[in-house]
C-alpha cells in the first residue's frame, strides 16, 4: 500500500489504463501493434511540447507562443534545406538555436519589462507567426512549395526501431533530462520555490529573473525539437503549422498534474497527459464516435482535470494551515 501511494500521477495512470482498456474492448484495431506505433509517432512531439510548457507553468507563467515558435523553426528548416541547400547536420543545430533564442526572448521581455507572461507570449505568438510568413520560402520562391525535404537525417524521426519511432526515443531523452533537472538539481529546487512563492524565493536570494529566462528558453528549445519531429513527418513545413497546438500542450500539461497555481507537478505527468489525449482522439475515431463529439469530450476531460487540480490545491493548503495553527 505504501508503494502504491508513492507512485507519481497514480490517478492519471489509472485513468489512462482504463481509457485504453475500454477502447481496446470496442475496437480490434485499437489493440493492435500498428495502433501503438501510430499513437507513439503521432503524439511524441506533443509530449515534448508539454514538458516544455510545464516549466513556465510551474513558475506561475504560461507560454502561448510555442505554436508560433514551432512554425518559425519549421520554416527556418524549410528555407535552409530547400532554398539554401544546406545539409541536414547543419540545419538541425540552426533549428534548435532559433527555437531556443525565441524562447529566451520571451523570458527577457517578461523579466525586463515586467509584463505578464500571458500578454508577452500572446504578443510574441503573433510576432513569431508574422515572422514565419515573412521568411516563408514557399511564398518567396513559389515553385519551392511543392518540393519535399528528403534528407536522411531530417527524415529520421519518421523512422521506426521495432515498434518504437525515433521521435519517441527523443521524447524519452527530453523527459529523463527534464525530470533529472527538476528533482535533482539546484535549478529544479529554485523553480519549485519560485512557483510556490516568488516573493519568498527572491528574498532567499534565488535569481528569479534568470530562472524565468531559463524556463522560457527551455520551452522554446522543446518547441524546436517538436518542429524537427513534425517536419520529419511532413517532409515540408507550412506557415500555419502548429496553430492552436499551444492550447493542446497546455491541456496536456494541466491534465498531467502541473498546477496552474505553480510549484506543483513533475515532467512525467505532461507526457502521460499528451498520450492520453492521443488515445482519446484515436480511440474515438476508431470506435466511430461522431467527429463533432470529440472536442466536447476533450473539453470535459480538461474541466475534470482542472477541477481535480483545484481540489488538490485547496486540500494541500488547508492541511498546511492546519499544521501552522497547531
Amino acid at each position: 500500500m505504501w508503494l502504491l501511494k508513492n507512485i507519481p500521477n497514480r490517478e492519471l495512470i489509472l485513468f489512462f489504463v482504463i481509457t485504453s482498456l475500454i477502447f481496446s474492448l470496442f475496437s480490434s484495431t485499437f489493440r493492435s501493434a500498428g495502433n501503438v506505433e501510430n499513437i507513439l509517432i503521432g503524439f511524441s512531439h506533443l509530449g515534448i511540447l508539454a514538458i516544455g510548457q510545464a516549466l513556465p507553468i510551474l513558475m506561475r507563467g504560461i507560454d502561448l507562443s510555442v505554436g508560433s515558435i514551432l512554425a518559425l523553426v519549421g520554416m527556418v528548416m524549410f528555407d535552409c534545406y530547400i532554398i539554401f541547400h544546406m545539409p541536414g547536420y547543419v540545419v538541425l543545430p540552426i533549428a534548435i538555436a532559433v527555437g531556443t533564442m525565441a524562447g529566451v526572448i520571451n523570458g527577457i521581455l517578461i523579466t525586463r519589462f515586467r509584463i505578464q507572461p500571458f500578454i508577452t507570449t500572446l504578443a510574441t505568438m503573433a510576432a513569431y507567426r508574422g515572422l514565419t510568413y515573412a521568411i516563408s520560402g514557399r511564398q518567396l520562391v513559389p515553385e519551392s512549395a511543392t518540393q519535399a525535404i528528403d534528407d536522411n537525417l531530417l527524415g529520421l524521426f519518421d523512422e521506426f526501431s521495432g515498434i518504437f519511432p525515433y521521435s519517441f526515443f527523443l521524447l524519452l531523452i527530453v523527459l529523463a533530462a527534464a525530470q533529472y533537472i527538476l528533482s535533482r538539481t539546484r535549478i529544479g529546487l529554485d523553480l519549485y520555490s519560485i512557483g510556490g512563492n516568488p516573493e519568498a524565493a527572491r528574498l532567499c536570494g534565488i535569481k528569479v529573473d534568470k530562472m524565468i529566462i531559463i524556463s522560457y528558453g527551455f520551452s522554446g528549445f522543446c518547441a524546436a525539437l517538436a518542429a524537427i519531429v513534425m517536419v520529419s513527418r511532413m517532409t515540408t513545413s507550412t506557415e500555419n503549422l502548429g496553430i492552436g497546438i499551444e492550447l493542446t500542450a497546455i491541456t496536456a500539461a494541466v491534465i498531467g498534474g502541473i498546477s496552474l497555481q505553480g510549484g506543483i507537478g513533475n515532467a512525467i505527468g505532461p507526457v502521460i497527459g499528451a498520450f492520453l489525449m492521443g488515445v482519446i482522439l484515436v480511440g474515438l475515431t476508431l470506435t466511430g464516435i461522431s467527429t463533432y463529439a470529440q472536442p466536447v469530450i476533450t473539453g470535459v476531460i480538461l474541466i475534470a482535470a482542472v477541477s481535480y487540480d483545484r481540489y488538490k490545491y485547496y486540500k494541500l493548503r488547508s492541511k498546511n494551515s492546519a499544521g501552522e495553527s497547531a
Binding site: I18, L21, I22, L25, F26, S27, S28, T29, S32, G34, N35, E37, N38, I41, G42, F43, H45, S136, R138, Q139, P142, A145, T146, Q147, A148, D158, M230, R233, M234, T235, T236, T238, E239, N240, L241, G242, I243, G244, I245, G278, L281, V282, T285, L286, T287, G288, I289, T291, Y292, Q294
Partner: protein, 339 residues
C-alpha cells in the same frame, strides 16, 4: 449498439462505486473485459465482408458537407459499405494522424481534401503501399494516388473574366479580393482570371489584388479601403462567394450597386439567391453534391471490383462541369442542386 453497451457498463460501474465496495468495482470491470472482448470479436467477424470508406475533410464548411452528402447518397444504397466523416481541423498534423489511424484500421477508400499538398504525401504513399485507394477533392497531393476530382478553377475563372468584361462593356478598372497565398486554388483562379481578361478584354485593367482571407467580414473592410484608394473601380472579382458577397454589402451601403459588376466563385446558395435579387452579378457554379457523387462512384467501382491501389498506374483527374450563373442563367440551377 456499441455505444449503448458502453453507457450501460459505465452506469453499472458507477453504481458499484457508489455502494463503495472496491472489490465489486474490480470484479465488474473484469467481467466487462471478458464479455466485451467476446462481443467485439463477434462483431468483427460479422463485419468482415463490409467495405469501409472515410472522408477526411479540411475542416467543416459548406463545401465539404455538401461533398459528404453526395458521397453518402451514393454509398447508402449499397448496404455493405460503411462510411465515416472525419474532421481534419484545418491542421496538417491532425490530417496525418487521422490518415495513419484509418490506414491501420484497414479501410478500403480514403477521400481527402488535403490541408497541404506536400505534407500529406508521405501518408498517401503509406496508404498506397497498403493497397488503399485515395481520392483527393479540390486540392491535389504531390504523391500519385488513385484520382483527383476538382472544380474547374482555371477555365472557370477565365470564363468569369469573359462574362464579367461583357457586362462591364469591355472597359474599366477591376479589383480582386483574394485568398491568402499557399493554396493552389488561389493561383489557379487568379491566373485564370488575369489570363481571361488579357485575352477577351484587353482594355480592362486589374488595379488591385488584396487578401481578404476567404471571409465576408474581412472582404467588407478590404473593399471599403479599396474604394477610397481607387474611386473608379467598376468591377470586383472575389475568388470565393463569401468575399464577393462582402463587396456586395459595401456597394449596397454606398449606393454603388448599379455601377459595379461583382463576380464570385463556387456557387453557394447565398450567392445564387443574391444573383436572383439582382445584387451579385454572377458566379461560377459547380454542383458539389455531384462532385461528391462522382468521387463515391469511382470509389465504389474500385472497392467492389477489388481493385488494389497498386493496380492503378496513372492517377485519374476529373474536372467538374460548371456554368457561369448570372441573372439570365441562374434559374437553370434546380433547388435540389443548390448547396
Amino acid at each position: 449498439m456499441d455505444l449503448k453497451y458502453l453507457i450501460k457498463t459505465i452506469q453499472s460501474v458507477a453504481k458499484n462505486y457508489r455502494s463503495n465496495s472496491g472489490k465489486k468495482v474490480i470484479s465488474s470491470l473484469l467481467k466487462t473485459c471478458v464479455v466485451g472482448s467476446f462481443l467485439s470479436i463477434g462483431l468483427n467477424t460479422a463485419n468482415a465482408a463490409e467495405k469501409k470508406m472515410v472522408f477526411i475533410q479540411f475542416q467543416p464548411h459548406t463545401v465539404s458537407l455538401a461533398w459528404s452528402k453526395g458521397i453518402e447518397e451514393v454509398l447508402s444504397v449499397q448496404d455493405d459499405i460503411d462510411y465515416q466523416l472525419l474532421d481534419g481541423q484545418g491542421k496538417v498534423d491532425v490530417q496525418i494522424n487521422l490518415m495513419n489511424t484509418v490506414i491501420n484500421q484497414g479501410v478500403d477508400t480514403i477521400f481527402i481534401q488535403p490541408v497541404d499538398s506536400v505534407a500529406i504525401s508521405p501518408a498517401i504513399k503509406k496508404a498506397k503501399r497498403k493497397g488503399i485507394v485515395v481520392i483527393t477533392l479540390n486540392i491535389n497531393a504531390t504523391a500519385k494516388h488513385a484520382a483527383h476530382i476538382e472544380m474547374n478553377h482555371y477555365f472557370g475563372a477565365r470564363q468569369i473574366a469573359k462574362v464579367m468584361g461583357e457586362k462591364m462593356g469591355g472597359v474599366g478598372k477591376v479589383a480582386i479580393l483574394n485568398a491568402p497565398p499557399g493554396i493552389i486554388i488561389r493561383d489557379q483562379r487568379t491566373n485564370g482570371f488575369i489570363d481571361g481578361m488579357k485575352e477577351y478584354h484587353p482594355n480592362i485593367k486589374i488595379i488591385a489584388n488584396q487578401v481578404a482571407d476567404w471571409s465576408r467580414k474581412k472582404a467588407q473592410d478590404v473593399f471599403s479601403t479599396m474604394l477610397i484608394a481607387n474611386p473608379g473601380i467598376s468591377g470586383v472579382y472575389g475568388i470565393n462567394d463569401s468575399m464577393a458577397l462582402g463587396a456586395v454589402d459595401v456597394a449596397k451601403a454606398k449606393g454603388l450597386l448599379d455601377q459595379i459588376v461583382i463576380f464570385g466563385n463556387d456557387g453557394e446558395r447565398d450567392a445564387l439567391e443574391s444573383i436572383e435579387r439582382g445584387e451579385l452579378s454572377g458566379t461560377q457554379y459547380t454542383d458539389v453534391y455531384q462532385q461528391g457523387r462522382y468521387a463515391a462512384s469511382i470509389a465504389s467501382v474500385l472497392a467492389t471490383g477489388n481493385v488494389d491501389a497498386d493496380d492503378i498506374k496513372e492517377q485519374g483527374h476529373l474536372l467538374m462541369p460548371y456554368i457561369i450563373a448570372t441573372k439570365e442563367t441562374v434559374a437553370d440551377i434546380k433547388i435540389e442542386q443548390r448547396w
